[in-house]
Amino acid sequence: MDFYITQINSNEVLKYIGYKGGDIDNKIEYDIKILSDEVIKISKPKVCFKVFSFDSNFVFEGTNFIPNGKDVKEMLKECSKAVIMAATIGNDIENIIRRYEITDMYKALILDSCASAAVENLCDNFQNWLEEELKGMFLTDRFSPGYGDMPFKQQKQICSILNTQKSIGVSLSQSGIMIPRKSVTAVIGISNKPQNKRFRGCEYCSMFKNCSFRKEGSYCGKF
């Protein structure tokens, strides 16, 4: 099954490069657009996943995997199944960024940020496809190791359950960093009841560029 990057949220990119509101010069907005296109062109998006049932102790069937931490269990409380997924936009973008880090740091920074936004979009697209596919069922948010109180170490288990190295070319370094860097692993719950989605971040709000809370370094707290 092939998944694609369909768009890169420029507000998300702006957030990553340290924008806190106020005027943005046209050049940056233009460069983000051009470099977003470049990221989409260079990326080799890949997703792998498996669907599991789990018991009341959250042991995923056929594995020794139990997602740890209160937060992820809270998220899964109305679910009887879950998806473990991993996604990456591939190694080529890493090579290009490394090159720009030497010749043009400005471009390197924007590309790096566009690439981060791209992998999020890829995950969104996968999740939308999955929800379609599982007609009548509802998905929770994506929950990744390192979020909330879910230990970062569980990344290793996820990668070995999905055999990510073989299936999508994602491996872990000795210190647990995913390589290629622009990769994500996550657990998504499947429920027969509609699931509340969390606050996705200011970059999805229409007030992103002009919000006075953001300029102060806080947020409105509405969500």
Partner: protein, 797 residues
């Protein structure tokens, strides 16, 4: 008991099918290491092997795929225990049959440098451990399979060749686009592995027999080695993970491979003994003929194969000879400067880069290793390792990920005896200089004699004719005018009569003359017309590259003049009108564009030009202290007030970097050493590879005139401590992005403190806080690049 050489003479060699698929059916849980079954359930393993042997396998793969120290971590077993048990199981299954046992080795599971953090040398050690255990345990051969990284394959093959006597098979895993996950092509795999002298190469996993076939078809046209294929049982369904090709269909499809002469066949994921049985049953008596193909000289990186079937440009700029700025970079181990020279030449159209780092006071072997690794982390073209020191040559060839050229040997027996074996071992091409201990012969005939001597010696060492390139030597025409013609004569003979490719360092021809470019280009064109394939030139010189593009149109290589037209698309108007463009430089003379403005706006070229102009009336130090630093302070102020944000700050810093580069060159040309102020070490700590933040800090610090010693990312603790001591550095900056690598930041700080070396330490990174920085013993937490500069200023004044 079977014998490897006997079995290879069979019409077909049948391999086994999947092990993992069979083990999952026997209760292996997802995420568990299958190798552990060798010890906990030997009967299960022996049975699986027996089923494959009964199905007709001539070679079975022992259950050792992931038996490396890295993957076995936490299982309670070590490599030796697992491999001993696995080989024993397989041998028990093979008793009273002719079936052979392969030590099966998959990827280590961690990606190598430059994308990952595993060092080539460490990967070699992990493989060495496995192959030595395997040979001791009695394996008949070694198979490296499911590989996606050619660099890892190289480490693996070298480990096997240098530490065992066992035959070696290698198969890599490709996607339908013909590349592995790391971008390696089928052709590049063949090019490198043919050179490393393995016994068979091929493709396994990821795809079914139908999808692998086009790739196998490509492979038969780029190697003379035996080929093996282990295909999956088709493709898995995304939701159920079931494979879609039945045993009968699989057997049918595998016959296609026999038709094109591929006769070592087996199955991978999803296949079972039934698949192998069907395949063996349905195979014709003999395999077809492998297609005949012409062996073309090739060089490669994993991503790019350069065939020498036309003029190919070797870039000459990575060489300290006569270049003060480059020499300074080598002395300061400023690898970024060298990386920039590599990128610049690759962008200008070089097909290959010559790498020469020989200079008094530099450990050439160590520097060659570092420079080769640096260059291949930023460009994907093949290299030419340029040295007379066999150790430096070996260091370069070993570290290079691809097939390289060695520059050079000459007709001296002693030189050939030392260097040719190294060329052969690493499967490189070699340049032979048509000279010997008596110097450069005056006549073309004498040079041709030496070329013959070199060719014969190379052949004796097992180097293919196609891998011998001859340099007929360019002499300076202003000093020895009659020699230019002799060189051209020799080039023609070597190319046409001896049938070898030719190399020439072209630029030397015009040394000592005015308007050198005219002579250089003219000689280059004549040389190409006489058969020069590999000019060593400066690709940044437009006229020289123009000559090459033009030549390729006339030689017919550039079909429909496409590349020529593309190159000259923006220049045609200019030529027609024949009027020079308005000189932009004038704009700066009157000061209507001042350096404060260009730095603020991040205009790189303009800043460099203005700096050139300013040097006519101001000293380097005045420019830095009175213009550049105040401009940067203004930028910093705007950043703090949030009038601009990070990208603009970086742009301004990059612009002022250009100014610094101009100033550095100016100072070096006067024979002085450096304008730079105090030294600062920057490093992204051990285990972490997120270095973009550190690199931003670097650019900004350099702009304030500090000499940044950039140790890179994933920096070992000892390197930080040793460099700080050796260079007597008073400020060390450390970065870490992950919570998991904060520990190694803390360890680095502790080691620095314990070393007794007095220095301040500044730390930064997304997950750090001022409190935590204090807790781990840092002197300062900088939230961004600006704060780092402020801290540096507060220390150094």
């Amino acid at each position: 008991m079977g014998n490897f050489n006997e079995i290879l003479k069979n019409n077909f060699v049948f391999l086994d099918g999947a092990m993992g698929t069979m083990l999952q059916a026997s209760g292996l849980k997802l995420g568990e290491r299958p190798e552990v079954f060798c010890i906990t359930e030997p009967e299960t393993i022996i049975n699986i092997h027996k089923m494959y042997i009964d199905a007709g396998s001539n070679i079975v793969y022992a259950n050792t795929f992931g038996a490396n120290a890295h993957k076995l971590e936490g299982t309670g077993y070590n490599t030796e225990e697992i491999i001993n048990a696995a080989i024993k199981n397989a041998k028990i299954a093979c008793e009273n049959t002719n079936t052979l046992v392969a030590l099966d080795i998959g990827p280590i599971g961690e990606l190598l440098e430059p994308s990952g953090t595993l060092k080539f040398e460490d990967a070699y050690e992990l493989f060495k451990q496995m192959v030595v255990c395997g040979e001791n345990a009695g394996a008949d051969l070694i198979v490296f399979e499911t590989m996606t990284d050619l660099y890892e394959v190289k480490a693996a093959v070298l480990a096997a060749k240098e530490n065992t006597k066992l035959p070696v098979f290698v198969t890599m895993t490709f996607e339908e686009n013909g590349r592995t996950f790391t971008g390696c092509t089928v052709e590049a795999m063949a090019c490198v592995l043919e050179g490393l002298n393995v016994d068979a190469i091929g493709i396994n996993c990821s795809l079914g027999p139908l999808e692998i076939f086009p790739l196998a078809n490509k492979l038969v046209n780029c190697t003379s080695l035996p080929i093996l294929i282990k295909a999956n049982a088709g493709l898995p369904d995304p939701l159920t993970n079931k494979y879609n090709v039945t045993a009968e269909l699989f057997a049918e499809y595998m016959k296609m491979y026999a038709d094109i002469g591929i006769n070592i066949l087996g199955g991978c994921c999803g296949t079972t003994p039934e698949y192998i049985k069907e395949m063996v049953k349905n195979m014709p008596k003999t395999a077809g003929e492998r297609p005949k193909f012409n062996f073309v000289s090739k060089l490669c990186s994993p991503q790019k194969v350069v065939s020498i079937d036309g003029v190919r440009v070797i870039g000459e700029r990575i060489n300290p000879t006569g270049k003060k700025r480059f020499q300074q970079a080598l002395r300061e181990c400023d690898l970024n400067y060298i990386a920039e020279r590599a990128i610049e030449q690759a962008d200008a159209g070089a097909d290959v880069l010559d790498v020469n780092v020989g200079m008094p006071g530099i450990d050439e072997e160590e520097m060659m290793l570092k420079v080769v690794k640096t260059i291949q982390s930023v460009v994907d073209i093949p290299l030419q390792i340029d040295s007379s020191d066999p150790k430096a040559i070996e260091a370069g060839l070993r570290a290079f990920n691809g097939k390289a050229i060695v520059n050079s040997v000459n007709g001296e027996q002693e030189v050939m005896d030392k260097i040719l074996p190294v060329v052969k071992k690493y499967g490189a091409s070699v340049v032979g200089l048509a000279m010997d201990s008596r110097g450069i012969p005056k006549t073309a005939d004498e040079r041709i004699d030496i070329a013959n001597t070199i060719l014969n010696n190379a052949l004796k060492h097992g180097i293919k004719k196609e891998d011998v390139f001859i340099d007929c030597l360019t002499l300076t025409v202003s000093a020895q005018q009659e020699q230019a013609v002799e060189t051209l004569k020799a080039v023609r003979h070597v190319k046409e009569v001896m049938g070898l490719h030719t190399v020439l360092g072209v630029s030397n021809i015009s040394f000592g003359l005015p308007a050198r470019e005219f002579i250089t280009c003219n000689f280059l064109i004549q040389a190409m017309a006489n058969g020069l394939d590999l000019p060593i030139i400066n690709p940044n010189q437009q006229a020289v590259m123009d000559a090459i593009y033009s030549f390729k149109v006339l030689s017919g290589e550039d079909k429909n003049s496409e590349k020529f037209i593309e190159r000259f698309a923006d220049r045609t108007v200019e030529t027609q009108q024949n009027t020079p463009k308005a000189v932009k430089k004038d704009d700066f003379k009157n000061g209507d564009l001042d350096i404060t403005y260009t730095v603020l706006k991040g205009l790189k070229e303009e800043t460099a030009k203005i700096t050139q102009e300013l040097l006519k009336t101001m000293s380097e130090n005045d420019i830095i202290n009175n213009l550049l630093i105040p401009a940067l302070d203004k930028v910093g102020e705007k950043y703090e007030k949030q009038e601009i944000f990070l990208p603009q700050l970086i742009n301004s810093a990059s612009a002022s970097c250009e100014a610094f580069e101009v100033l550095k060159k100016s100072i070096l040309s006067k024979g002085a050493n450096s304008v730079l102020k105090e030294k600062i070490i920057l490093a992204t700590v051990k285990g972490d590879i997120h270095d973009i933040g550190k690199n931003i800090v670097k650019v900004i610090l350099e702009n304030y005139g500090y000499q940044v010693i950039d140790l890179g990312r994933d920096v070992p603790i000892e390197t930080v401590v040793e460099t700080a001591k050796k260079e007597n550095v008073k400020l060390v900056g450390l970065s870490a992005l992950m919570t998991t690598t904060l520990k190694s930041m803390s360890d680095t700080i502790q080691a620095l403190r314990q070393s007794g070396h007095e220095c301040k330490i500044v730390v930064g990174g997304a997950v750090l806080t001022p409190e935590y920085a204090k807790q781990i013993g840092a002197d300062f937490y900088a939230k961004d690049a600006k704060e780092t500069v402020d801290f540096a200023k507060s220390i150094f004044g």
